[in-house]
């Protein structure tokens, strides 16, 4: 398991601890159930790597409330990004897998931080190459603003107003080997 510095940077301030993250994800699970009467047609699709961890937790929470086991998907966005030459280094390309039949299903895309909206756009583009779901909704643990595209999150764990140069860190025991937490480094 990879371990990263904890706190992620010396100047970072804690925004959410493990308990607060749990509460936010439980609330989002309730909202998803409320918004989707046919809950068994929903698949939760995470954007690697932390979006997948959040997706797993949402499936667990929804399962506890409604006694259903929703399907988990993983969608890699790296090969659908529009900024290949603008980035300093490439993020690893992950294997995507989605439910076999997307027709008539609701896909809930899950990411850790909603920011410019470009990741979400790339993910929607990637999903459409697998098929045509009935609808796509978007969930993010943190919404830090600064959208560059007309994209809005349907489910938000916490709105965190930031300045552009500020940095937001999401950490999970499962993916980073440090306690579940969200941090912001203010300028």
């Amino acid at each position: 398991m990879p371990t990263t510095p904890y706190p992620p940077s010396p100047k970072a301030a804690l925004v959410l601890d493990a308990q607060a993250i749990d509460r936010a994800l439980r609330r989002i699970a309730h909202e998803i159930i409320e918004r989707n009467p046919e809950i068994n047609k929903v698949a939760i699709v995470g954007i690697p790597s932390r979006g997948v961890e959040i997706a797993k937790r949402l499936i667990e929470n929804i399962g506890q409330i409604e006694n259903v086991k929703l399907e988990l998907g993983v969608i890699d966005v790296s090969m659908h990004r529009d900024d290949i030459r603008l980035r300093k280094s490439l993020s690893p390309v992950e294997v995507s897998h989605l439910p076999l039949d997307l027709e008539g299903r609701t896909i809930i895309l899950v990411d850790d931080v909603a920011y410019t909206g470009r990741t979400c756009r790339a993910a929607m583009d990637a999903i459409s190459s697998f098929g045509r779901p009935a609808r796509i909704q978007y969930a993010a643990l943190i919404d830090r603003g600064h959208r560059e595209l007309p994209i809005r999150a349907d489910y938000v764990g916490k709105n965190l107003p930031t300045a552009r140069p500020e940095r937001v860190f999401v950490r999970f025991e499962k993916t980073d080997g440090v306690p579940d937490s969200v941090w912001v480094e203010r300028i």
Binding site: D76, S78, M79, H80, R81, D82, I84, R85, R87, K88, S89, L90, S91, P92, V93, E94, V95, S96, H97, D125, A126, S128, S129, F130, G131
Partner: protein, 311 residues
């Protein structure tokens, strides 16, 4: 973050084990693209790839071409007969012209070892070696190791026999480097004229007795007898070669259950391999072709993306 910082892919010899593993992992993700309803991703949209094949090749060129299409790049094919090389233009001048047309990636197949490196050092475009003389054929080794890893789960500790014309084979050289770097054991098998003992210095075992090796290996990789590169004195003759080194039905029975049979193609049926064995369940020859596409997509993606350090 991806560990790939190279502009070019010139040889396996210069890569680290981590870089090779990084390409294979990336290829696994690209292989999945082939299972989608729309088998095309926009990663290299707006980029131009030139397939520059000074030596004839159909499958490698087609594989690169299809890989580029699936990444949404534009592709131009140039072969020796259609290029101005036949009119006396030097390789460097031809390449400079390609660059002036804003080719982002040049895939080069050339009869001279080192030609891709020569271009890579002089051009800003990414250069991918698609086979240079008897030197290297890196994407072939990558697709072979990808196939072994996919079928057997890992490379470390696997025993691979490479059989045939090793001396003239760039496929063998690239495979030897890749397998040894990833921790496999390699035994080279063939007539002493085509498998000189010098290869032991690379870290391989060398033998001229195929029958003693077969029961111990997890993979046999058969190389094509390259009639076009042979001189008479090196080669015993087709019939004799088959009886001494061909993977016949009787020999295939000596293999461990689950051992893989590989061949980079094109196959000479009845020479290095019996027709029936080439079509048997153990043969992964067609998986190699499919995986070649995924590996080449990964290589193009890695070399064309991110900030590059000139090689």
């Amino acid at each position: 973050m991806s560990n790939w910082t190279r502009k070019d892919l010139l040889s396996i010899q210069e890569l680290t084990a981590d870089e090779i593993t990084g390409i294979l992992d990336t290829a696994a993700a690209f292989k999945q693209v082939g299972a989608r309803e729309i088998k095309k991703v926009p990663a290299l949209r707006g980029k131009t790839l030139v397939n520059f094949f000074v030596e004839p090749s159909t499958r490698t060129r087609t594989s690169f071409e299809l890989a580029a299409f699936r990444l949404s790049a534009d592709v131009v094919n140039i072969s020796a007969s259609t290029s101005s090389l036949t009119k006396g233009e030097t390789l460097k001048d031809t390449a400079k012209n390609l660059e002036a047309l804003h080719a982002d990636i040049i895939v080069l197949r050339h009869s001279s070892a080192g030609a891709p490196k020569f271009l890579a050092e002089r051009l800003e475009s990414s250069v991918i070696n698609a086979g240079d003389g008897a030197h290297e054929h890196p994407t072939q080794a990558l697709l072979d190791t990808f196939t072994i890893r996919e079928k057997l789960g890992h490379i470390k500790g696997i025993h691979v026999a490479i059989i045939g014309d090793i001396l003239f084979s760039r496929v063998a050289r690239s495979n030897i480097w890749a397998l040894l770097k990833l921790g496999a054991r390699v035994t080279l098998v063939g007539p002493s004229t085509l498998v000189p003992r010098e290869f032991e210095r690379m870290g391989c075992a060398v033998t001229h007795d195929i029958d003693s090796v077969l029961p111990d290996v997890d993979v046999v990789n058969l190389l094509r007898i390259q009639h076009e590169r042979q001189r008479k004195e090196y080669f015993p003759g087709t019939g004799e070669y088959t009886s001494l080194f061909g993977l016949t039905k009787a020999r295939a029975e000596k293999l461990k259950p689950g051992a893989l049979i590989m061949h980079p193609g094109p196959i000479n049926r009845g020479v290095e391999i019996d027709s029936e064995i080439a079509d048997s369940a153990r043969s992964v020859i067609l998986d190699q072709v499919t995986n070649g596409l995924a590996v080449r997509m990964a290589v193009l993606y890695l070399c064309a993306g991110g900030e590059k350090i000139a090689s």
